[in-house]
Symmetry: C2
């Protein structure tokens, strides 16, 4: 498995396996692991362990792990929960490197303590645990099943290029079985259950080292450490390995169910979406998605762009495919003239050489026509991938078309898929022929278009990784109290280079008058107190003060108001601030997510964020370049770019400020929440300025 | 077929059928119609027509239609295009009511003329035509195939409750065959091809009269008359018949393909969406949707609400189902305590009696537990429909679960579906058992949730139909020129009761001064000319004039500017208008769609429409109630409802204005485009006022 943090070679390819709780009834759950090992012709040693038997199915059976003639690489454990600790104790004593625990009755049954004790035993002795409450794993490269799943009780050996790690055993093996039967090939399937020790990330990390893995699929209910997930995505990205993640627990009800089903944190949906997008994971939702991605990523061909060539034997099928490709963000461009000419040699007048190419059902009367038309599209320089949509072509013609498609697929240097709309009674043999021939085969234009769009998107994901460099290593926030005043929050922003308003904190009226003279009228006056978070609501803000007299009046009035809501000693003074006008209101916020740390949110101020929820999110840090993408994603972006006759705003300076705040958020480990709002964005070349800001530190407020 | 516009009884249930171009080679396309009629045990008379034969397969063969011993109800025509007119001529002479023309070589081959001539012959003689370039039809009620589709060459007779009309023959029969094999039952399948005479709407109308039809599915590339489509949806709504429409040609490329494939108008995507939503059609996108809706609507049970009960044998499967149900707008509510108690009697500690109920795989060891748990959920008063998600349950346990599910489905008074995640090798016999037992069976939680959400939405669609009553019958627009000035446009609005600014059209300066005095300062002055559509851009608007002097100056300046862009005789004068402030800007627009007539668009003014594209659409007319829904749909709605400390705006008056403008659009047949923008919406109780307006009449501008 190469150079990963965890060496799982002895788990995935054990030289010997002990089966604790083995049953002589090969059809029972405890009998099946042995049955499957034999059915898969496992070449290593098998040691059934059960004090009830001397022998099972011709193999010597041992009373316990302690009595085994050698130390097995893996111990499979299927005994009752209360017997498991003893098995693990003996395994630890024997120096067994891996135990796979099928048994339930631990955290998932509200018995966290039993699980903790178990892991404690294992950790002290160095035995790594898969499970408990898992269904084990299967390695198709070496044909080794360490599982009791009925889905493996088959002669099919769907060896291929997908590695699949699922927290859920039942869903994992069910979706595996459906995918395998629909033509998807697998290298490894691992189910992790309660993940008391090894989890989906551990296996993802290990499989990312295997160059033969072309797609990593993960089913996750929750994780404990968001950073490790991001590390995995970064590692996968470095070797162009697409990672498809089915993260369940999105709905409120399902989050409850996840909590009762495992012990892990389900997390916030919008944040997970952000992480997927930012770090390049394919978000999936269903068993169907595993099947369809497995088909299309099984072949190593990757598209250079998003331009899809479509050929069809049925006008309708081609049009639907074009519509669905469009929905999925693909392009269906005009073909070059020479390709069209080649195609026109073969099609009747009611066909069409435009993309989608309608070959018509007459193609079945012209053996050469089909293949050379498809090849003409594949060879077109402005086409990145090709789909053929076949409808009810049956009999010998169907068989010929199927043969052509298989040959074309294997010759094609570009990604190629087939969508054949037919029932099994009429077309089953063609479908099976194509599937067995390795052709990505769909029976739904929408699913085919979706899978091809993911092929394109995942190729694009690898193009560039966002890099943010920063020198500062230690924060400044530790010197501040739990709730910062506006003045303090802006001092922190300024420390990271974010432009703020000219302003001065003044302890008394004389200071304030002096500051106002120095800053220049008009000024704003705000009372600073950590007890007053919403200054305007509390009436402790006066704007547009134009003279010493106005400053004096405001000072008296506001200090009186402030003293009604908080004690005098909690008032730090008043802030005298320049009045700034003419900027477009923007907001830059940060919130610390329990799983993934600081998440940066940006949006146009006022109604855009509050009413229209027009916000774009990233995990900190983000580079200036990525910050520009965040800005461009906003629906209100045209207002910054100069819509409706307005001047273009200083997007560069805004992006820099976002980068700086994201660096602040990365460095300041104490930061719980930050809100720079409004940030005024001036015309291009004139920069930005944070007008108001709020910062909360972690811990009790 | 009852009391529809078109009586298609003799087409759908012919007493006799002639097959023109019948071949003795029963495997060829021209041999298949006869083969299929025999295979389906057609009880009527069959007359093969082909001068080459005396007899085909034991049936007397006739040289032409003229020589037939009786007038058949239907003539099937499969001869070359150039021979078709002669066949139709003879059919007309014999008084044949229906001809089904399979032959291609007409409009789809750029031979519109041949098609027009053909229809001309048929129309004059009263023979109705299905096709040309179609694949015919099949009636499963009476077991009559009038088609050559290979998909019918089967012993399967999937008789059920779906009526399917498809413009595309190849796609229609392919998707039918896939659906039939996956458990969907059909009453009729009709393919209409070029639709030179009978079209999908004709059949939809006829099938809507059949009370046994529970779902009408339509595949449409384009239509010629949008009103007939709306009539069909209204008719279907009256009898609670859901209509699912696959409208292709959404993408720009596909629109081109539709044009080259048929001659119909693909239409604007946003308008189609609006029509579907407003008149209650289910928008579908793929063959998969036909399959999945067919399964769920095949049963007559309909939900009262959107609350889904989920039970699962695998925690993961249940969580995914809950997530997908949430995505589709369904609710997964907490179960009542007594239901939970019943369930808890049967499940192990690691199960869960919360919705989604996790029965765990242990349910297979407790025969009673499964059925009584599912029944407890079905009986819960706060549950409207129920789904069971089964994973890899195999062997005898699987069979028992399958039997339970079938029994529960048939007993359940509420909609019920099963989602079984398993491969065919392990679970094929359970899947087949359930399918044959009529249970809506899915292998994807997402598809199951989608189909159940459509069941809910379609029940809801029928709750209320929008009714708009208006007395006025004749328009006023005919008295105006092609381009109306602001003044004229607002006069038209006023004629329909829409509040407009106080204003007067003045021919000279004295008039203007008098008008300003009368209206009261400040006033606006605008030059009125049909040649100046964008008045502000042309600089012929002066606002906030506060005195006679200012009016005088503005008059001189603006008339001079106007005379530079248009001739003096095209200047109608100046409009003196009250200045209005304090309203929220809104816009109400109308555009005439080629297919569906006037479409009303409303949105908040300025950036909301222009930058954020925050617009809601309906076909005119819309009632005040529906107009309120349009307003509520806007993302900016909170601004009208009183967000951010603002007063609530007069939504009632705004909705009334929308209703009135929609009535205007319905009555004024000449209206091409209308734009009331801005419309100021004042605080609640203070009404609205149209500040500016633009109207274009149809025809050359």
């Amino acid at each position: 498995m190469g150079n990963s943090t965890l060496d799982i070679k002895r788990l995935m390819e054990p030289g010997s396996v002990a089966i604790v709780g083995a049953s002589a009834n090969m059809e029972s759950i405890s009998g099946r692991p042995l049955k499957l090992l034999k059915r898969y012709n496992y070449k290593g040693k098998i040691y059934p362990v059960n004090p009830k038997y001397k022998e099972i199915d011709g193999l010597a059976c041992y009373p316990d792990v302690a009595s085994l003639p050698e130390t097995p690489d893996v111990v499979l454990v299927g005994v009752r929960a209360e017997l498991v600790p003893q098995v693990i104790k003996q395994s630890v004593q024997r120096g067994v490197p891996f135990a796979v625990i099928f048994s339930s009755g631990f955290a998932e049954s509200d018995n966290q303590q039993a699980q903790d004790e178990l892991i404690d035993i294992a950790k002290r002795g160095g035995t790594r645990i898969l499970g408990p409450n898992c269904q084990g794993l299967v390695n198709f490269v070496s044909s080794i099943p360490l599982s009791f799943s009925a889905s493996l009780d088959s002669d099919a050996r769907p060896k291929g290029h997908v590695a699949y790690v699922s927290q859920s055993g039942a869903f994992g093996f069910a979706s595996f079985a459906m995918a395998a039967e629909r033509g998807v090939g697998f290298r490894y399937v691992v189910t992790t259950g309660n993940q008391a020790d090894l989890d989906v990330i551990d296996f993802g990390m290990a499989f990312a080292d295997d160059p033969e893995v072309r797609l990593l699929v993960m089913y996750m209910e929750g994780i404990k450490d968001g950073n490790r997930f991001i590390d995995l995505l970064s590692k996968a990205r470095k070797r162009n390995l697409p990672v498809a993640v089915l993260k369940v627990g999105r709905s409120p009800t399902a989050q409850e169910a996840v909590r009762s089903h495992t012990a892990a944190l389900a997390g916030d949906e919008a944040v997970w979406r952000t992480i997927f997008k930012q770090y390049g994971a394919i978000e999936i939702e269903d068993a169907q998605d595993i099947v369809d991605l497995g088909k299309i990523f099984g072949s190593p061909k990757r598209p250079k762009g998003r331009r899809l060539g479509i050929l069809t034997t049925s006008g309708g099928g081609g049009i639907i495919m074009a519509d669905r490709a469009y929905d999925e963000g693909l392009e269906v461009p005009e073909l070059p003239d020479d390709a069209k000419k080649k195609i026109e040699e073969h099609i009747p007048p009611f066909g069409s050489s435009r993309n989608p190419v309608d070959l018509t059902a007459q193609v079945i009367n012209e053996p050469e026509g089909f293949a050379s038309s498809v090849e003409a599209v594949i060879e077109s320089p402005n086409i990145d991938m090709v789909t053929v949509v076949v409808s009810m072509i049956t009999g010998e013609s169907g068989y010929r078309v199927a043969q052509d498609i298989k040959n074309i697929f294997h010759k094609s240097p570009k990604p190629f898929a087939c969508c054949w709309l037919i029932n099994r009674e009429q077309g089953g043999r063609f479908l099976d022929y194509l599937r067995e021939g390795g052709v990505p085969l769909f029976q739904s234009p929408r699913r085919c278009a979706w899978a091809m769009s993911k092929l394109y998107e995942s190729s694009r994901m690898f193009e560039e990784e966002d890099k943010v460099e920063f020198k500062r290593r230690t924060g400044v926030l530790k010197d501040y109290p739990a709730r910062l005043t506006e003045y303090e929050a802006k001092q922190v922003l300024a420390a990271y280079g974010v432009p703020i308003t000219r302003e001065r904190l003044c302890e008394n009226l004389n200071d304030a008058l002096e500051a106002a003279d120095e800053i220049g009228y008009p000024v704003a006056l705000k009372v600073m107190s950590p007890d007053i978070l919403h200054k305007t609501d509390a009436g402790v803000v006066a704007l547009n003060l134009r003279s010493q007299e106005e400053v004096r009046n405001a000072y008296g009035r506001l200090m009186e108001k402030a003293s009604k809501v908080t004690a005098r000693e909690n008032i730090h003074g008043v802030l005298i601030q320049e009045m700034v006008t003419g900027g477009l209101e923007f907001m830059i916020g940060v919130k610390r997510d329990e799983l993934f740390g600081p998440i940066v949110a940006v949006g146009l101020g006022g109604i855009y964020v509050e009413v229209l929820k027009d916000v774009s999110l990233r995990r900190a840090p983000v580079s200036k370049k990525e910050a520009e993408k965040m800005i461009e994603e906003l629906k209100g972006y045209p207002l910054l770019a100069g819509a409706r006759g307005q001047n273009k705003k200083d997007i560069g300076a805004l992006a820099e400020a976002i980068e700086k705040i994201s660096i602040l958020a990365s460095i300041e480990e104490d930061l719980q929440e930050l809100d720079a709002n409004p940030v005024f964005v001036f015309d291009e070349g004139y920069g930005i300025k944070a007008i108001d800001a709020m910062i909360l530190r972690r811990g009790p407020q």
